[in-house]
């Protein structure tokens, strides 16, 4: 987390100060852009960890373009079979519902039966399904591919190493004593990583306080302890030793945040106890993650002192379904995972809607890769491109990007759908950076010049393969 350098020396008394920009930052064009445009919005990044099987997430319902018969060839029925019958899919339809049709083949698509929550939001036009998201020369390593997505750096550009795509934005516009981002968990997620501003991690808002000794009031020496602690960490933050400096800034922002964040629990539950209980009633880690995010958003929305985080991150693990993936019934591994995700995200959306800020919340959902279309015994091995979701009140719901070509003849020698950027290719893939870039341009209102110069530089290489001329206008955000 955190990397504050020397500024902390003067700022350890900041406490409830919240936004406090160093004067020189006001001259920074990125800062002006951000302050003008981030406004009252929130960006939530949510990670399906392990490689969600996109082939069984957004599934061909009819055989208009031949995708369904190709799907049936690869995904088996019977014991260990993963095939989702057309009748089991959740197929959005009805007046005013965005068509859920593959733009290329015209195939009617449906959601995995576990994604009832997402299906409900899709019916209201609040979900963009972005198909075929990937990158050139895809990696099948969890670690390598996760880093590629988080850093948005498939080609190993040294200038981008070690910083996340959101992190590069945060680092450019926020100062070291600010906390613009919060991740639910115990480690700073890769997409938020950078070394200029603090990122908070917490698991429970309520218990996120500094652990002073539990003494009688008469004996309490909290302020003396705080002074010693704050002084030691401020000094460490200024150390020439990089590891000690990192620790110093991390400890300092931890102390400050531990004083401003825990009150958000009471603020939220005083006003919204039944919502809190609804999240808890889901009984899932993903439900709890969104519950904590809701407290943060509500705290920022209601202007609580010392909290200003508008970038949030959460994750759900377990998607590495090499075995026992199952098909479309409760108890099957992928079903339970998607159900947990869909139910939690729908509740979060309803909560935001009830607060009146659903239009100010944008949730982008990604996974490090999809899985291979031919299944193994009862699961799937690592694959290439897959679908992403963008969810929010301002999202233009519908299907964007093409379904990958899953016909046997089209698969590459690894059995995977090939990634292509060739303009004439009817199955042209979606580079995931176009999705991130569309969010940066249309949600954070960054100019394409800012994005391409400092956050998502285009690749160098054959434009049929590499991502070269981004337009950041996929259309799912106005």
């Amino acid at each position: 987390m955190a990397i504050t350098r020397r500024q902390f020396l003067q700022r350890t008394g900041l406490g409830a100060g919240g936004l406090l920009l160093a004067p020189n930052l006001f001259g920074n064009p990125f800062v002006r852009e951000a302050l003008a445009n981030i406004g009252s919005r929130y960006l939530v990044v949510f990670y399906l960890d392990g490689g969600n099987d996109g082939q069984n997430t957004i599934v061909p319902y009819d055989d208009v373009g031949g995708l369904r018969s190709a799907y049936n060839q690869h995904r088996k029925t019977g014991n260990g079979g993963l095939q989702l019958a057309p009748g089991s899919l959740l197929v959005p339809s009805g007046p005013g519902v965005p068509p859920m049709v593959d733009p290329n083949t015209g195939t009617q698509l449906g959601f995995h039966p576990g994604l009832a929550g997402l299906h409900n939001l899709y019916l209201e036009g609040k979900v963009a399904v972005v198909q075929g998201c990937g990158y050139p020369d895809y990696s099948l390593s969890h670690e390598a591919s996760t880093i590629i997505w988080q850093t948005a750096n498939p080609t190993g550009n040294g200038a981008l190493a070690g910083t996340g795509w959101v992190g590069r934005h945060l680092g450019a516009v926020y100062g070291p004593s600010q906390v613009p981002g919060v991740a639910i968990g115990s480690a700073v997620p890769g997409e938020f990583r950078q070394s200029a501003t603090s990122v908070l991690t917490l698991r429970r808002v309520r218990t996120f306080g500094f652990p002073y000794d539990d003494l009688d009031e008469a004996e309490s020496d909290e302020s003396a302890k705080r002074d010693a602690f704050a002084g030691a960490y401020a000094a460490a933050a200024a150390s020439a030793n990089p590891r000690l400096a990192f620790l110093g800034t991390a400890g300092t922002s931890t102390l400050l945040s531990s004083e401003s964040y825990p009150p958000l629990f009471d603020v939220y539950t005083d006003a919204r106890q039944s919502w809190f209980d609804d999240y808890s009633a889901l009984g899932t880690t993903t439900g709890r993650a969104f519950r904590e995010m809701a407290q943060l958003v509500y705290g920022v929305h209601t202007g609580q002192p010392g909290v200003a985080a508008r970038f949030l991150q959460g994750r759900q693990g377990g998607y590495d379904t090499h075995a026992d993936q199952g098909a479309g019934t409760p108890g099957a591994r992928q079903y339970d995972l998607l159900r947990e995700f869909g139910d939690a995200v729908e509740l979060f959306y309803r909560d935001m809607e009830d607060i009146g800020i659903a239009d100010d919340v944008c949730i982008v959902v990604w996974s490090e890769f999809s899985r291979r279309i031919p299944q193994n015994d009862n699961g799937t091995d690592h694959g290439s491109q897959g679908p992403m979701f963008v969810i929010g009140g301002s999202v233009a719901g519908g299907v964007y990007g093409n379904h990958p070509n899953i016909a046997s003849a089209a698969l590459d020698d690894q059995g995977n759908t090939p990634y292509s950027q060739a303009p004439g290719d009817p199955f042209r893939s979606t580079d995931f950076r176009d999705v991130f870039g569309t969010i940066l341009k249309h949600w954070l209102a960054l100019s394409p010049a800012t994005i391409t110069s400092s956050i998502l530089p285009p690749d160098v290489g054959n434009p049929a393969t590499y991502w070269t001329v981004p337009n950041f206008d996929l259309g799912f955000l106005p």
Binding site: S141, P211, R243, A323, D381, H382
Partner: protein, 487 residues
């Protein structure tokens, strides 16, 4: 420049026990003081490894047993390397869900921690917990499952690329290795065995091509390496390991030897070790031919690169300080303060009642529960606001154990007749073995805390309130200092 005949300073002895052991307890420091680097390394490595196995009916019990074993710390280097291998060959209970298999896996880590690395990897192939964790037990001939094959190459041995950045293997290598591992299962006595009817024999699937790997990498030439050289079926998985251990990188050096040595150096002393030192250590230990981990560790423990980081505070820009793993933080604290793991579950009273496992979980590391096959992220990845608060909480809870059993007893650790605040601070830092790691400014802050900025010049530690508020508070603060998070 030093070598194995260089005499150790007390600071270096502490460093050795911090980085290669489980924390410098006074007894251990005393035992190694006055020795040379070589003598100290030999004394630590002389201890016969114990085939430790955390038996227990449930996960909590097994976890407590392992923690108790660490806190006892009779074989510090073996224990610490077993933790390294736990991260390297990561398996988690969440996936395996079998406490007996996890115990066998932990035993394997301890048996081979300082053994022969090639034998170790071959044993990992057949470890029941690993076979479940990475789906070897589900790898059937109809459609081979690549999970274990990929991680065997990527994480356990070669790495995706060599230390110079060139790729070490291809997807086709993984496919062929996955075939070699088809048909293995774990029998009811938790022993790996091959079910030949589920094994992928070449004659069954001629369209899959010959079981040959490393045609384009590894220095084997276009002929590659045939996995059926000792026959098909059982011998194949050993043949895979033999081939991997013969693999050479883009500079013609043994790939496994370089990567393993590099990683061990990262773990023990230096997050970015120079390649020249890596190669020197491999040569010293003949590691690329003997695969003797004990010899390799000894070579590291007598080398300058290991002692460079023993420098006292204030730390310069180039001093490679490392963030203690949560389990190091907890175990070394328990040992330095003479606390025993007691009760079921092992617990620490204090501000809030909670078990040691809860503390570790909040810090981001539960034994037998690495988050994924990649193990834990090290160094600054341990440091987030949530995990730091967990460390501060642990420090607070330990120091707050005033009336419970086990009780934190400063009187057993230091002289309570001390009255000078500077002496008291020095004594507390001495107990925590960080008196050379805390600079003058931080000492001043601790003294200011103790004296309320000079309001008092002398403290009576015999006074119940002074002792319980200020001395216990000083211990908590000292354990919360930046210096105590690093080693």
């Amino acid at each position: 420049m030093g070598d194995q005949n260089t005499l150790l300073t007390t600071a270096e002895v502490r460093h050795l026990l911090r980085r290669a052991g489980l924390g410098p307890t006074p007894r251990e420091v005393e035992r190694l003081e006055g020795l040379t680097r070589g003598q100290a390394a030999d004394q630590l490595l002389l201890l016969k490894p114990k085939a430790f196995r955390p038996g227990g009916r449930d996960f909590q019990k097994a976890h407590d047993k392992w923690l108790k074993f660490l806190v006892k710390g009779k074989r510090p280097v073996q224990c610490r390397l077993a933790l390294f291998w736990h991260d390297h060959f990561a398996v988690n209970f969440s996936t395996v869900q079998d406490v007996t298999q996890m115990a066998l896996y932990v035993r394997l880590l301890h048996v081979h921690a300082l053994g022969n690395f090639k034998t170790f990897v071959k044993a990992v192939n057949k470890d029941p917990a690993m076979m479940v964790f990475l789906d070897t037990v589900k790898n059937r001939k109809a459609i081979p499952n690549e999970n274990y094959a990929r991680e065997l190459l990527e994480l356990f041995t070669l790495g995706v690329t060599d230390l110079l950045g060139a790729p070490n293997y291809t997807q086709d290598d993984i496919v062929q290795i996955a075939r070699a591992f088809t048909g293995w299962r774990v029998n009811s006595s938790n022993v790996a065995e091959l079910d030949a009817s589920r094994h992928d024999f070449q004659s069954d699937f001629p369209e899959r091509g010959p079981k040959v790997i490393f045609r384009t990498t590894g220095g084997f030439g276009p002929a590659g390496r045939d996995l059926t050289v000792n026959g098909e079926g059982e011998p194949e998985i050993d043949a895979v390991v033999d081939a991997i251990f013969d693999h050479t990188d883009s500079a013609g050096h043994n790939t496994v030897a370089r990567r393993t040595t590099h990683r061990l150096l990262q773990f023990l002393c230096h997050d970015d070790p120079p390649l020249a030192v890596v190669d020197e250590l491999i040569a010293t230990a003949s590691f690329a031919t003997t695969w003797d981990l004990k010899a390799l560790v000894r070579a590291i423990l007598v080398h300058d690169i290991f002692y460079e980081t023993a420098a006292p505070a204030p730390f310069g820009a180039a001093t490679k300080k490392s963030v203690k793993w949560p389990v190091d933080f907890v175990v070394s604290t328990m040992r330095l303060l003479g606390l025993k793991v007691k009760g079921r579950p092992a617990w620490i009273p204090g501000g809030t009642y909670s078990s040691l496992r809860d503390h570790l979980e909040n810090m981001g590391q539960v034994l037998m529960q690495p988050p994924s096959v990649f193990g834990w992220d090290w160094e600054t990845a341990w440091l987030s606001s949530g995990t730091l608060l967990a460390r501060y909480t642990f420090a607070r809870d330990i120091a707050a154990m005033r009336w419970d059993n086990p009780t934190f007893r400063p009187d057993l650790l230091m002289d309570l007749t001390l009255t000078d605040p500077d002496d008291i601070v020095a004594a507390v830092l001495g107990v925590l073995a960080i008196d050379d790691q805390v600079d003058a400014a931080d000492r001043r802050r601790l003294v200011d805390y103790l004296t309320d900025y000079g309001a008092t010049t002398s403290l009576d530690l015999g006074d119940w309130t002074v002792r319980n508020v200020k001395l216990h508070g000083l211990f908590a603060l000292a354990m919360q200092l930046p210096a105590y998070q690093l080693h």
